[in-house]
């Protein structure tokens, strides 16, 4: 059985002492940054990119992935205990999670989050195992036309599905695409928008963007807010009752299914998945009336969803070479740095990387459940550090990290500029996530669009000639229709 052989290969790669060590390290770092406000997986992974040179492709991918889904786990802890989401994808967990804490059941909520995240991870893994080899082969049939529309789908989806204003979402995505054009043009080596500044020749820098827009801007925003974090000091019972178990499993499975789907959609991702799962619970769950008052489903569904979305996002990344969101894009960058070419055929060309990574994600989920449950008390202590002491440390470490990517101090200037802009975005209620998608997918989009138009001599109708292209176009049409529909509905 092919799948069995592949999984065995995966285990043999993932279970070497070296890889297990990096996996654990990734999970711990991930959980920690998930718990800490103001620093997230995007910033951290950016700062650790240079490491991929030193430790090698497979261990670094395992570790960086561990950081990513570890952060999902960590984010839930603060959502539940402090009503403060450590990660965007855990925002909705605050609703029922914090209520559970107030009812003395905070520990149970955390255990729930851990267990259902494991379920989410398993469901996503099954999906990856089953879907990737055929998808990988299917991807060979995709040409420039299909890729162009797929990316356009991503841009529009992220604007439409974003939690904020749709028009602003699309606008900021376009800003991102334009920023992505700064630097040397991929196909003809022409430099654009670098204005004779040598530091801009390679582009603005994804790490600079990420740290600036997500890190520095958040610090600027939080300085003025008064420290009002009340850490829960009461008893933390950690053992769910039988009734709890019976209720969390179905919600977890539903959440996992939704999450796996959202992870695949361009522009989707963990945050959207968690909202979607909660919305479905409200309609479908036996206990829907309890949602909002501390129902365990309110924690189980979104947490399962965000974890499975995080992991299923690896499918388009590995099989098509297309990142669905900013974190995936960074991982793509890390792979290029290590000389790995994700995309069609990776399952056959680099089976040890592919299956090793998949299995390590499964093991990582288990490690995280084991880590988080007993370590909750330690994370609480970390959170007791007053913000006024924390943010200068984060600021300084981020500067060091940004410098370390290229050993160029001017990168920090670029990051500072984006920090300033990012702060403006926050106060103007512009969602920054589409910008990252634009920066990363923009150059690819332009490249494929150019190539296609070159092949078909500028004929617009050529997009309708190919079946896959037509299918994707209809999907795009549906998203646009949905977008316009929600715009009109909001106005009424």
């Amino acid at each position: 059985m092919d799948i069995l052989n592949n999984l065995l290969l995966g285990f043999s790669v993932a279970c070497t002492p070296e890889n297990l060590m990096y996996l654990t390290l990734g999970c711990v770092i991930g959980t920690m940054i998930g718990v800490l406000p103001g620093i997230g997986p995007i910033a951290t992974i950016s700062m650790m990119l240079p490491l991929t040179f030193t430790i090698g492709p497979i261990p670094s991918m395992i570790m960086l992935s561990g950081i990513f889904y570890g952060a999902q786990y960590g984010g839930s802890t603060t959502s539940i205990l402090l009503n403060m989401p450590g990660e965007m994808s855990s925002t909705i967990t605050t609703v029922d999670g914090y209520k559970m804490t107030q009812q003395g059941r905070g520990g149970i909520a955390i255990v729930t989050a851990g267990v259902v995240s494991l379920i989410g991870g398993i469901v996503a893994t099954i999906l990856i195992v089953v879907a990737s080899p055929p998808l990988s082969e299917f991807a060979f049939k995709m040409g420039p036309a299909e890729y162009t529309i797929l990316m356009l789908l991503g841009f529009i989806s992220v604007g439409v599905l974003t939690t904020g204003d749709m028009l602003k979402g699309i606008g900021i995505c376009i800003v991102g695409i334009l920023l992505g054009m700064v630097g040397t043009d991929t196909s003809n080596g022409l430099e654009r928008f670098s204005f004779n500044i040598p530091d801009l020749l390679d582009g603005v820098g994804v790490a600079n963007l990420a740290v600036g827009i997500f890190g520095f801007s958040e610090i600027m925003k939080n300085i003025s807010n008064v420290d009002q974090v009340k850490v829960y000091d009461g008893k933390l019972s950690m053992f769910p009752t039988k009734q709890d178990w019976i209720r969390m499993i179905p919600a977890g499975i539903r959440g996992s299914a939704i999450g796996s789907f959202f992870g695949l959609v361009p522009g989707g991702g963990a945050t959207l998945a968690s909202y979607g799962a909660y919305a479905v619970e409200k309609k479908v769950s036996k206990y829907k009336d309890e949602l909002g008052t501390g129902a365990i489903e309110g924690v189980a569904a979104p947490e399962a969803a965000n974890n499975s979305a995080a992991q299923s996002g690896f499918i388009p990344l590995l099989c098509l070479g297309i990142p669905e969101n900013a974190v995936m894009a960074l991982l793509l960058g890390a792979m290029y740095l290590s000389g790995i070419q994700p995309g069609p055929g990776i399952v056959t060309k680099q089976p040890d990387l592919f299956w090793g990574l998949i299995v390590s994600m499964l093991i990582g989920n288990i490690i995280l459940v084991i880590l988080n449950v007993p370590l909750v008390r330690i994370w609480i202590q970390v959170l007791k550090v007053p913000y006024k002491v924390l943010y200068p440390v984060i600021l300084a470490i981020c500067c060091m990290g940004v410098y370390s990517v290229n050993n160029n101090p001017n990168d920090i200037l670029i990051t500072a500029l984006f920090g300033f802009l990012g702060y403006l975005f926050v106060e103007l209620e512009i969602e920054p996530a589409p910008l990252m998608l634009g920066v990363i997918l923009g150059p690819m989009f332009e490249e494929y669009f150019r190539r296609h138009m070159g092949l078909y001599n500028g004929e617009w109708s050529s997009f309708l000639d190919r079946p896959i292209s037509v299918a994707l176009l209809s999907l795009l049409g549906m998203v646009i229709v949905y977008g316009v529909y929600s715009l009109c509905r909001k106005k009424k």
Binding site: L190, R192, F193, A396, C399, M400, F420, L428, I430
Partner: protein, 143 residues
């Protein structure tokens, strides 16, 4: 009856769209079937301007919303980061980092020198970690 947040957003989009659109005029456009460097940025710049204009107009017909931009903090922190780079290049990483810690902590309402010193110690430690464990080429002290 102005939605300040939307007005600001639209204005921002118009400025960025104009910036890239005008900048793209310095490059060759090419044709649709043979696009050159300036084509896409110009198209996108125009699209962004149009979108921004639409958002600005829309902001006049929305409910009153104020934008709470704390320019003082924004410029202060950004300025500190620039200072950091200057000090980093002239004196070295450790001094720059410590200076950043104290100056950035200073602006907080409840600034406490002693507690900030703990932060400074943690930061010095992490600079060393970056240099010696992660292989970053941080100049610790420039004489």
């Amino acid at each position: 009856m102005k939605n300040q947040k939307d007005f600001g957003s639209g204005l921002l989009f118009i400025i960025v769209g104009l910036f890239f659109g005008l900048a793209s005029l310095r490059y060759e456009m090419g044709t649709l079937s043979n696009m050159n460097a300036g084509y896409m940025p110009l198209v996108l710049g125009i699209a962004l301007c149009v979108l921004g204009l639409f958002i600005v107009i829309r902001s006049f017909h929305s409910e009153e919303t104020k934008a709470n931009i704390n320019w003082k903090i924004a410029f202060y922190i950004t300025g500190l980061l620039v200072l950091f780079v200057v000090v980093f290049k002239s004196v070295g990483g450790i001094v720059a980092a410590v200076l950043l810690v104290y100056t950035s902590a200073y602006i907080h309402k409840e600034f406490n020198f002693k507690k900030t010193t703990y932060a400074a110690i943690v930061v010095v430690f992490s600079v060393l970690v970056f240099k010696f464990l992660l292989g970053s080429e941080i100049p610790l002290w420039i004489s």
